[in-house]
C-alpha cells in the first residue's frame, strides 16, 4: 500500500500488478458526505479527471452493447460512433489523471483494475440500456450537460485537460444533435413511442440530480486550473432539456427522489455486473499483453 492510501479503502487490485490506488476518497458506510481529499490539490485533480473519464467509459460501454442489435442498420453505426467517441474521451481523461497521479498507472489500469466502488461515474451512465427509448433518454439527459460543461472546461488553464475537453466538446455537440433528434421523433412519433420515451424519462429523471453533485474536489480544481463547477450549469442544462422535451410533446418529469453516490463510489447494483463482464478477460490473465 502506498503510505498515503486511506486504510479503510477497499482492496481493488484483484491481484493485478498495478500500483495501489491512492485516490483518497471516503467510502465508509454512513451518510453521504463530500469527498475528503488529503487536502492536496493534486489528489483532487486526479479525482476530478476520474469522474470525467468514468462517466465516459461506462456510458460508452453501455452504448457498445447495442452494436449488432439496434433498431435499424444506420443506428448500429451511429451508436457505435458515439461509443467510440466516449471511450476515446475516457482514455484521454484517464491519461490526464495518470500523469497527474504520477504513479505509473495507465488508462487500462484505471479501466480494468478498479472495482465498482472505485469508479466515480454518475449512476445515470451505468443504468442498463433498456429499450431504445431508455438509451436515447439517458444519452440526451447526460449529453445536454456535457455540451456546456466541456465548453467551459476547454478554457481551463491545464493544457492537456483543456485540449481533451475541447475535442470532446465537438463530439458532444454532435451527440446532442443525434439524441435530441431521436427524442423528437420518439416523443412526437406514435402513441407507443411517446409513452415509452416518457416512461424512460420519468425513470431516469431522478438520476439527473447527481449530475450536478459537486464537492471539495470541484472547488479545489476550479481554484487550481479554472475548471467549471457543474452546479453553475444547471440552468443551462434545464433550458436545453426542457426546450427539446416541449417540442417533442413530452412533459418534464418531477423527481420524487434524488439518488446519489456514484461520484463517491456508491453505485447501483448494475455497475458491478457491467464491470465483471468488462474486466473478466483482463483480470483472468494478470500481467498478460494483448
Amino acid at each position: 500500500m502506498a503510505p498515503d492510501a486511506t486504510p479503510d479503502e477497499p482492496e481493488t487490485g484483484a491481484g493485478a500488478p498495478v500500483a495501489p490506488r491512492i485516490v483518497p476518497v471516503t467510502t465508509t458506510l454512513g451518510p453521504l458526505r463530500p469527498t475528503a481529499t488529503s487536502g492536496q490539490p493534486a489528489d483532487a485533480f486526479v479525482e476530478y479527471c476520474l469522474r470525467l473519464a468514468d462517466d465516459r467509459l461506462v456510458l460508452g460501454h453501455r452504448l457498445s452493447e447495442w452494436c449488432g442489435h439496434a433498431p435499424i442498420l444506420e443506428e448500429d453505426i451511429a451508436l457505435a460512433n458515439i461509443a467510440l467517441d466516449l471511450i476515446g474521451q475516457a482514455e484521454a481523461f484517464f491519461s490526464v489523471a495518470a500523469e497527474a497521479e504520477g504513479r505509473g498507472r495507465t488508462p487500462d489500469d484505471f479501466a480494468y483494475f478498479r472495482d465498482d466502488v472505485a469508479f466515480r461515474n454518475a449512476m445515470l451512465c451505468e443504468l442498463p440500456n433498456g429499450d431504445f427509448g431508455v438509451t436515447i433518454a439517458r444519452q440526451f439527459l447526460w449529453t445536454a450537460l456535457q455540451v456546456p460543461f466541456t465548453k467551459a472546461l476547454s478554457a481551463a488553464s491545464h493544457a492537456q485537460l483543456a485540449g481533451a475537453a475541447a475535442k470532446a466538446h465537438k463530439e458532444h455537440v454532435y451527440h446532442l444533435r443525434h439524441a435530441a433528434d431521436w427524442v423528437l421523433k420518439l416523443g412526437d412519433g406514435t402513441p407507443e413511442s411517446h409513452a415509452r420515451v416518457q416512461a424512460a424519462l420519468d425513470g431516469l429523471w431522478p438520476y439527473t440530480d447527481e449530475l450536478f453533485y459537486a464537492d471539495g474536489v470541484d472547488a479545489a480544481v476550479a481554484a487550481l486550473v479554472g475548471a467549471p463547477v457543474v452546479t453553475a450549469l444547471r440552468e443551462d442544462w434545464a433550458r436545453t432539456v426542457e426546450a427539446v422535451l416541449r417540442q417533442a410533446t413530452l412533459s418534464v418529469p418531477v423527481a420524487d427522489w434524488t439518488p446519489a453516490g456514484g461520484r463517491l463510489g456508491r453505485h447501483t447494483e448494475h455497475l458491478g455486473h457491467m464491470l465483471a463482464e468488462m474486466q473478466s478477460l483482463a483480470r483472468a490473465h494478470p500481467g498478460a499483453q494483448w
Partner: protein
C-alpha cells in the same frame, strides 16, 4: 395526444449522398442511406460515409427526386457533342512560336 396509429414498419425511404472531400472539390456521389427526413439523412450520411474523417461537406437528396437520363437517351443526348470539334482548342491552328492562352 392525437397521433395517428402506428404506420407500417419499413426500412425507411432512400436518400442519395454526395460528399465533398476537400475545399473547392466537387461533391461526388458516395452512396445511399435510409432515413425518414432530411435531418436524419444528414446524420446517417455523416456516420456511414464520414466516419473516417475525409468528408468536409455533405449533400443528401431523396432518391426519388433524382431524374436520370435513360440508356436509350445516350445516343441522341451525347453522341452529337462528340462531333463538334470546333468546340475544342485543338481545332484552331496557331502560328509556331506564339503562345496563345
Amino acid at each position: 395526444m392525437d397521433a395517428p396509429a402506428a404506420p407500417a414498419d419499413s426500412q425507411w425511404p432512400l436518400w442519395e449522398v454526395f460528399t465533398q472531400e476537400a475545399q473547392g472539390a466537387p461533391h461526388e456521389h458516395a452512396g445511399s442511406v435510409h432515413a425518414v427526413d432530411a435531418e436524419q439523412a444528414l446524420q446517417n450520411a455523416r456516420d456511414v460515409f464520414g466516419r473516417r474523417g475525409k468528408v468536409i461537406s455533405l449533400w443528401v437528396v431523396p432518391t426519388e427526386a433524382i431524374v436520370a437520363s435513360a440508356p436509350s437517351d445516350a445516343g441522341p443526348f451525347f453522341d452529337p457533342g462528340a462531333e463538334k470539334a470546333y468546340r475544342h482548342p485543338y481545332f484552331y491552328k496557331v502560328p509556331k512560336g506564339i503562345r496563345v492562352y
